[in-house]
């Protein structure tokens, strides 16, 4: 604990943590819209397309000026999005092919520019390749102003146009019919995804930034039933993954930050996909298991009822062996559960036979209800 506090007092660590928070909030909130609009792959294209912009920004500024670099990244990312739009609207190219084409082209341009800059032997080029995989420790106080500014702008936009963004994401046709400028909102939302990507370039890098946009939203979606909750949850997941990953990479082994952040986010996604109540795989498995158990209980109960009807004896004691044979499985557990609910009771019948069971009054009532429901369903 003391160690952690000392750590948080450290200037670099403060920068990293603050930066990771800005990154997590921005990419969580904007990523929610990207994922719901089924534009996850667009995020990937935008991220890769940021690389040529990073290099151009560097060339224009003549050094590692984050403002120039991020502005350049935003410009080329948006250009790639436009290229993608033109390709899919004007030709018969499908969206995924358009995205792939734009991604490959712009990343290739970026790498060519990057190697060109590196070959010029400019002393200031140090750290430019950290934009590939991210380097949290390189975050400067001045960088935080830019990242924080983008976060505030993104949050303000989402708050101001909340219902418009929601409608255009959920039902673009209807949004158009009510008079919303759907294309304009599309452009704004896409630009915002580009913004989210740009915020993380420093920490996560162009190669993996898309997952930082996608993963928190995917994880959050598992836990919520409303968009407002999803946005908040995604921001929280983003912050946890961002700070956790950035600290881990900076402190433990000086690993590349981006991959560690993305691994943290992926772990959260995995947990959410497995364990989230209602939507998680484990949860579904549990529900299925419970349903099967309840079904077996109902079957044993109605069998007892039918047996006693057949013998014209409401207190007909049925031997467990009879029930086992009828159902082809051991009914001991099912009977015990029914007994706990007060629907059946154990009776002594013949001393040399196994345990016998009869229905209680409540059990007869329940069996009648169940059979009536089944009858209604069949009718």
């Amino acid at each position: 604990m003391d160690g952690l506090l000392t750590l948080l007092g450290d200037h670099t660590v403060q920068n990293v943590v603050l930066g990771a928070i800005f990154l997590g909030v921005t990419s969580g909130v904007l990523g929610s819209f990207a994922v719901l609009r089924q534009q996850s792959l667009l995020g990937d294209t935008l991220a890769h397309a940021a690389l040529p912009g990073v290099c151009l920004g560097f060339l224009v500024a003549g050094g590692r000026e984050l403002g120039f670099i991020l502005a350049g990244a935003l410009v080329t990312a948006v250009l790639a999005a436009l290229l993608m739009l033109v390709l899919t609207r004007r030709s018969r190219l499908k969206t995924d092919a358009g995205l792939g084409t734009a991604l490959g082209f712009s990343f290739a341009v970026g790498v060519v520019l990057l190697t060109y800059i590196q070959n010029t032997g400019d002393a200031a080029q140090g750290g430019l390749d950290s934009f590939l995989f991210g380097q949290a420790a390189a975050t400067l106080r001045s960088d935080l102003w830019i990242m924080g500014g983008i976060m505030v702008a993104a949050l303000a936009l989402v708050a101001a146009f909340w219902k418009e963004f929601k409608l255009v994401t959920f039902d673009p046709l209807y949004a158009g019919a009510t008079g919303l400028p759907v294309t304009l909102l599309d452009v704004v939302l896409t630009t915002m995804i580009a913004l989210a990507v740009v915020v993380g370039l420093q920490m996560v890098g162009v190669v993996l930034m898309a997952s930082m946009v996608i993963a928190p939203a995917v994880a959050a979606r598992q836990w919520v039933t409303r968009l407002e909750h999803m946005v908040v949850a995604a921001a929280a997941v983003g912050v946890v993954a961002g700070t956790g990953g950035a600290l881990l990479s900076a402190l433990v082994a000086n690993l590349a930050t981006g991959p560690v952040i993305v691994l943290t986010a992926s772990a959260l996604v995995l947990i959410s996909i497995l364990a989230a109540p209602g939507r998680g795989l484990l949860w579904e498995q549990l529900a299925r298991w419970r349903a099967r158990r309840a079904l077996r209980g109902r079957q044993v109960l109605t069998t007892l009822y039918e047996l006693s009807a057949e013998h014209r004896d409401p207190h007909y004691p049925a031997e467990r062996g009879t029930l086992n044979t009828f159902h082809g499985l051991d009914t001991r557990a099912a009977l015990a559960r029914l007994e706990r609910r007060g629907l059946v009771q154990r009776v002594r019948h013949m001393p040399d036979e196994g345990p016998h069971w009869e229905l209680t009054a409540a059990g007869r009532e329940e069996a009648r209800r169940t059979l009536a429901q089944l009858g209604a369903a069949e009718a």
Partner: protein, 261 residues
Amino acid sequence: MTAAPLHEPDLALHVEDLTVSYQGKPVLWDVDVDIPPGVMAAVVGPNGAGKSTLVKAVLDLVRPTAGHVRLFGAPYAAMRREVGYVPQRSAVDWDFPTTALDVVQMGRYGHLGWFRRPGRREREMALEALDRVGIADLAQRQISQLSGGQQQRVFLARALVQDARLYLLDEPMAGVDAPTERAVVELLQELRDAGRTLVVVHHDLQTVRDYFDWLIVLNVRVIDQGPVDRVYTAANLRRAYGGQIALIERPAVDDDARGAS
């Protein structure tokens, strides 16, 4: 949107010389449709006949190559608040994280305008509409947990809160159970009896005469339109459904030369 002179103000919907094409192929060709107010009209035709496109063209969602649309004499942009729309159920992702009540409130967004959030009034209208379509108890239900019929009712409720004079519905009876279909039809007929106009893209020829009083038979061109008793004929339906492929594949200009003037 200042007062341009009204054009055919006595018609709820007036479509004239409308042509819509995708990548050079006509989807609608030289379509004229006139629907008087207070009727419940079915639009029928085979797949690819342009039924949904006609609805979208009326709603300014696709740009026509030629022709114009008027609603009660005015262009759509001026009449937006008078028109309710029910898109096809499959047009949205029902796994979107929201509730039935929230979706219905979206019907008021057009009236609210920018920056204003739905409040108590919108909430009450939405609850009332959900009650009218018979699923008031599902207001807080996550929409991914609704059945197909319930989803359709939610869409219908969303159109109801628009409180429109003209309703356009795209296949509202597609893939719903029998009780839902009955409920939908009863509701639509109620609206018509209250003087609203309804234009319904419909796929089931069997029920056209029971449900509707006006009929538009469409296959890229309008085959026939008018009161259902006059238009619902074997000859019209054969013309629309029989030559489906030929009608679309044939160069549209030939059609025009033979059909027009």
